[in-house]
């Protein structure tokens, strides 16, 4: 355990040092962390044994909320835009959750996929509001009240995202260790028993669904600000599939897995695209097959857990 903490601290320092030692990788890493937030949302649901192939919807909700607010020229700061994106995604999820949490397994996955595709279509078709297939540009907002140039903004946005990631990881880690989080594991292993304990498994899953969407919305907001652009593809099923892919790659067993998976995914994607433009998806696919075969618990479990009993 102590060694794990040491390893985690070293990994954190390595990530935190990137803007100083590999400055050109700063944006790539910020994007990875932003995507990692959305992946963590998927991981929360995986705890209950439920896969969502539609979390792109909440990712897009966060991103578009940020874009709309920036375009409205309200002069909102990044530190207000991000919670606003997360909030809108959460509200949508809580409303849709009343319906979605009635379903399990493939039906849960598909109902999420279906709704995200409806959202994708709306984002594409409602051109006057959403910018259609072109999406919307997101002008660089202030950060903590400061109007920064591009390089400074990218530098500080990285650390802002890193700080958010650390806080979110701690909070979600505590949530997953709480009765509510353990309730998710209970849904996965025996929902019948949970009901006979007098517990509404739907309510536990509904809360998790809201938490999960909040994380995806937060991630979407980060990406909108960092990349300066949002597009309907944010809600497309391929994006949702990517989140699931990364969750499996990193390992759903712990919170760190979402971010480790996301960083590895982003690096492989960037380098594979640069050096094997026609084959980069093949490289990713083969990596995932290798992970499933040789480290079914994901990348972090290769390092953190030699042989752990449960999740």
């Amino acid at each position: 355990m102590r060694f794990d903490l040491l390893f985690g601290a070293i990994a954190f320092c390595a990530v935190a040092g990137v803007p100083f030692f590999i400055p050109w990788a700063t944006v790539m890493l910020t994007i990875a962390l932003g995507v990692g937030l959305a992946v963590l949302g998927v991981v929360v649901l995986l705890r209950a044994g439920q896969i969502s192939f539609g979390h792109g919807l909440y990712y897009a909700a966060g991103a578009y909320t940020v874009a709309f607010l920036v375009q409205a020229r309200l002069g909102l700061d990044t530190l207000l835009l991000l919670p606003a994106g997360a909030l809108v995604a959460t509200v949508i999820a809580v409303a849709f959750g009343f319906f979605a949490v009635r379903y399990r397994d493939i039906f849960f996955a598909m109902i999420n996929l279906a709704v995200s595709m409806v959202a994708f279509s709306l984002l594409e078709k409602l051109y006057s509001i959403t910018g259609g297939g072109d999406g919307l540009n997101v002008a660089r907002p202030t950060l903590a009240g400061l109007k920064l140039g591009r390089v400074s903004f990218e530098f500080w946005m990285f650390y802002t995202t890193l700080a958010i990631v650390v806080v979110v990881a701690l909070v979600v880690g505590r949530y997953l260790a709480s009765p509510l989080g353990k309730g998710l594991e209970a849904i996965k292993s025996n929902e019948t028993r949970l009901e006979y304990l007098g517990v509404s498994s739907a309510r536990i899953l509904h809360i998790a669904y809201g938490v999960s969407a909040c994380l995806a919305g937060l991630g979407g907001g980060v990406i909108a600000i960092v990349t300066g652009h949002v597009a309907p593809e944010f809600a497309y099923w391929v994006r949702s599939g990517e989140f699931v892919f990364i969750a499996i790659l990193g390992g759903a067993g712990n919170v760190v897995g979402a971010f480790a998976g996301s960083i590895v995914y982003e690096i492989v994607r960037n380098y594979a695209a640069a050096f094997a433009a026609d084959y980069w998806q093949t490289i990713l696919g083969v990596s995932l097959i290798a992970i499933i075969m040789f480290a079914p618990q994901g990348l972090t479990q290769m390092r953190f857990g030699k042989k752990r009993g449960g999740a």
Binding site: P179, E195, Y196
Partner: protein, 247 residues
């Protein structure tokens, strides 16, 4: 006269051509231990499933402490004071034994705070005591998946008792365990039931267990009670000996 805890009245349920409950009625008094015996397919588990909300009868009523619970959902019934264990233990296999009990504790207390670690539940000691009572303290930190059937049976019953129910249904608490284990399980169980003054109704095939631990026996055939009485009276009945016990 002891207070009536449960009154099941004239329950009827058919699955197509199969009659699972055909006017089944049973009354349980506070602190009683009632054994339900009968051949396979007689409707014993159906009766338990109706009383715990898993199945809804086509007619009849289940009255618990004066309230009609016939149409309530299992979780509402559980919250109302009825616990149950299963023929095949229903547990959270990936969690430890202690976590299983703590989840039951959280369910009972309604403590679902997202900032509180489950293992630091303020009443966790109560569950440690329960582990002690059922003799499983040494395996408290092990995942349930790794434990033998006998232990799982005990944990399944402990989960039901952790809710502090006023009535508990147990479906074959000693099935699938060795003959040596069964008395140990039942001794432990009866100790826990007496300790909490819980009324118990259990389905059982083992007549040694029935004669030793039941206050009253109800013989189920064709979806209803054919005979009811003390263990001595029922187990010595010629029809029961021939058709149920098989001697």
């Amino acid at each position: 006269m002891r207070q009536i805890v449960l009154k099941a009245e004239n329950l009827r349920l058919r699955f197509g051509g199969v009659v699972a409950a055909d006017g089944a009625s049973l009354t349980a008094h506070a602190g009683e231990r009632i054994a339900i015996i009968g051949p396979n397919g007689a409707g014993k588990t159906t009766f338990v499933n109706i009383c715990t909300g898993y199945l809804k009868p086509q007619s009849g009523a289940v009255i618990f402490e004066g309230k009609d619970i016939t149409q309530l959902a299992p979780r509402t019934i559980a919250r109302g004071g009825i616990g149950r264990s299963f023929q095949l233990p229903q547990l959270f296999l990936d969690n430890t034994v202690f976590e299983n009990l703590l989840l039951a504790l959280s369910a009972r207390e309604g403590t679902w705070r997202p900032w509180m670690r489950l293992d630091r539940h303020p009443k966790a000691d109560e569950m440690r005591d329960m582990l002690e009572v059922i003799g499983l303290s040494s395996v408290g930190d092990r995942p349930v998946r790794e434990l033998p059937e006998g232990m799982r049976k005990l944990i399944d019953i402990a989960l039901a008792l952790a809710l502090k129910p006023r009535l508990v249904f147990m479906d074959e608490p000693t099935s699938g365990v060795s003959s040596r284990e069964k008395f140990s399980i039942m001794d432990t169980l009866v100790r826990a039931l007496d300790h909490s003054a819980t009324t118990a109704i259990f389905v059982e095939h083992d007549m040694d267990v029935v004669s030793r631990y039941a206050d009253r026996v109800a013989v189920w055939t064709g979806g209803k009670i054919a005979l009811e009485g003390t263990p001595e009276h029922v187990l010595n009945d010629p029809d029961v000996r021939k058709n149920v016990i098989g001697v």
